[in-house]
């Protein structure tokens, strides 16, 4: 069963496109990365999923329910952290939990306090005295205190220090291992690459790709640096067809290639090579290509 599905989902503001023809299918217990530059339409798509905005075309469903019409029913099984979370100035962890319990009709105090301890957040500190990172932690506690089938996080690491980002990543992996689905929106490739099973990239309100990260890795180019025994060898040897030379510099080649490394290492073994270095799949290049606008600008 698909946890989250959208069909030709669109939101227009007059002539301006928020998002258009968004088709997503998110499977259970996966960590789904939703990647795109600022202003690409990530938050608009999330607000459509949460029922804050009414779609102008298409539909979105979570757990089989319509996201606009049955929004409040869906939220029983959804935890949500807004991007740039803003909270009530008087709120503390200890004051928030009874409100959360009353609204969700679940005992959440112990789970919430455990999260506060994990995030090292003082449960009695009010929002007005909190730093940006602390507010983010409180927002995460509100989103994660209950056991939910789907957790929607809009740029959840903003404001968190690197250690806390790792702690959050561990927590999300645990939740996914326990069956929760994570919808993780970000504009940072690195955190999506480390955490997610699948990624959709959004640009100018459109989904430009939606595929497993492993598939992207397979498609991604790798960088190679080859050092020949002599400068003459470096200048006369003809490279194999699958290797694109980016630059030659004295006895070295700086090149890129697609696919598996085996054929290349076999070929290099037959050449007068002193040393070579093959890098990991370069997802950044592939993502940059997706980010790039039609006119070639980033």
């Amino acid at each position: 069963m698909t946890i989250l599905a959208t069909r030709n989902l669109g939101k227009r503001y007059g002539s301006k496109v928020g998002v258009e023809d968004v088709n997503l299918n998110v499977e259970p217990a996966t960590i789904f990365g939703f990647l795109g530059p600022n202003g690409a339409g990530k938050t608009t798509a999330i607000r459509l999923l949460l029922g804050f905005l009414r779609p102008t075309s298409g539909e979105a469903r979570i757990l089989g329910r319509d996201c606009w019409r049955e929004s409040h029913r869906i939220k029983r099984d959804v935890g949500y952290l807004a991007g740039d979370v803003r909270l009530y100035p008087w709120l503390t962890v200890r004051r928030a939990l009874p409100i959360l319990e009353g609204a969700r009709r679940q005992a959440l105090t112990s789970a919430g306090m455990a999260l506060a301890e994990r995030f090292q957040l003082d449960p009695d500190k009010t929002v007005r005295k909190m730093s940006r990172g602390m507010r983010q932690k409180l927002g995460l506690i509100l989103a994660l205190a209950h056991e939910s089938k789907l957790i929607v996080l809009d740029e959840p690491t903003s404001g968190l220090d690197p250690l806390m980002q790792l702690s959050l990543a561990d927590l999300l992996r645990e939740r996914a291992a326990n069956g929760s689905t994570i919808f993780f929106s970000s504009h940072t490739l690195n955190e999506v690459e480390q955490l997610c099973d699948r990624v959709a990239i959004v640009r100018d309100g459109h989904i430009v790709t939606d595929e497993p990260l492993d598939d992207l890795r397979r498609r991604a180019r790798r960088r190679v640096e080859v050092r020949f025994q002599t400068e003459e060898a470096a200048s006369t040897i003809v490279p194999p067809t699958h290797l694109d030379i980016v630059r030659r510099d004295k006895d070295r080649w700086y090149a890129e290639f697609d696919g598996e490394a085996g054929p290349l290492t076999g070929w290099l073994g037959t050449q007068p090579v002193r040393d070579f270095l093959i890098g990991p799949p370069d997802l950044e290049t592939i993502f940059r290509a997706f980010y790039r606008n039609k006119d070639g600008s980033s």
């Binding site: 949500y80 909270l87 009353g102 609204a103």
Partner: protein, 270 residues
């Protein structure tokens, strides 16, 4: 629903309590100074006949002959300070959701809860109505305390006071309903408050001017105070059911419209 009510109580109890205490004190003071005003009223009206029009305008009735001590009790319930306190708290309350929540960006947290927008609206309504009952109740207590200093024959009977309080609560309901509607159409709380303030001031002026400026009389029906008649209740002993019906209808329809708009509108905080 319990969680949302808990949040509303936490956010509003202090403001409502302070406004209620203020209203109580104002009622005590107004009721205490009333006999002194009464003593000088007849002399003042003789010297300055135009004052009769002003008094009539404030009370919302035509004054023929002597202004009785009992009729003057209406001042306590139409005094601008009383109305200002009541409407100020009401305006702050009824613009909290959705305008206030959108304005400060906290609506994302609120709507992340498994509670429908209509339920949140209903919870805010419960808080608003309870707050109004508390404030008007505090005003009534203040009036009761103050009137202990009044000669017994000048005190209106309790039933008349209850009718005035009910009429006042209907005014509170009508103004609140309109405020909820304006809030449902707004994304900035300040703008919503200003709009309500402008409507209320215009309403007050329309009612006041209509008493002694004939061109304004044709517009008097749009004023909420046209349907609030404590002086008339004290004079006739009865509460005009037509006034109550208009106030409840205006309040009810605008409240309902606000509820539906809130439930169906796009919520965008960025």
């Amino acid at each position: 629903m319990r969680g949302v009510l808990l949040k509303i109580v936490r956010e509003t109890w202090l403001g409502t309590l302070l406004f209620s205490v203020a209203l109580l004190l104002v009622e005590v003071m107004l009721t205490l100074v009333l006999p002194q005003i009464l003593d000088q009223m007849d002399v003042m009206l003789e010297r300055m006949p135009f004052m009769r029009d002003f008094v009539a305008a404030l009370l919302g009735i035509d004054i023929e002959g002597e202004i009785t001590a009992q009729l003057m009790q209406a001042f306590v319930w139409v005094h601008p300070t009383v109305m200002t306190l009541l409407w100020a708290n009401e305006t702050m309350f009824c613009t909290r959701f959705p305008a206030g929540e959108i304005d400060r960006g906290t609506i994302d947290v609120l709507l992340a809860l498994p509670v429908s927008r209509r339920t949140i609206y209903l919870c805010e309504t419960i808080g608003w109505l309870a707050g109004g009952a508390l404030m008007i109740g505090a005003g009534a207590i203040g009036y009761t305390i103050g009137s202990q200093m009044m000669p017994l024959e000048n005190r209106p009977e309790f039933g008349l006071v209850l009718r005035i309080l009910f009429n006042l609560y209907c005014v509170y309901f009508a103004v609140g309903g309109v405020t909820f509607l304006i809030s449902s159409l707004s994304e900035r709380r300040g703008r919503a408050v200003f709009t309500v303030f402008a409507i209320v001031v215009a309403s007050f002026l329309a009612n006041f001017l209509a008493q002694f400026w004939s061109p304004a009389q044709s517009l008097a029906f749009v004023s909420v105070l046209e349907y609030y008649q404590p002086a008339s209740i004290l004079r006739t002993g009865s509460l005009a059911s037509g006034d109550v019906a208009v106030l409840l209808l205006v309040g009810g329809l605008t409240w309902l419209a606000g509820c539906e708009i809130t439930a169906r509108r796009n919520i965008c905080t960025t």
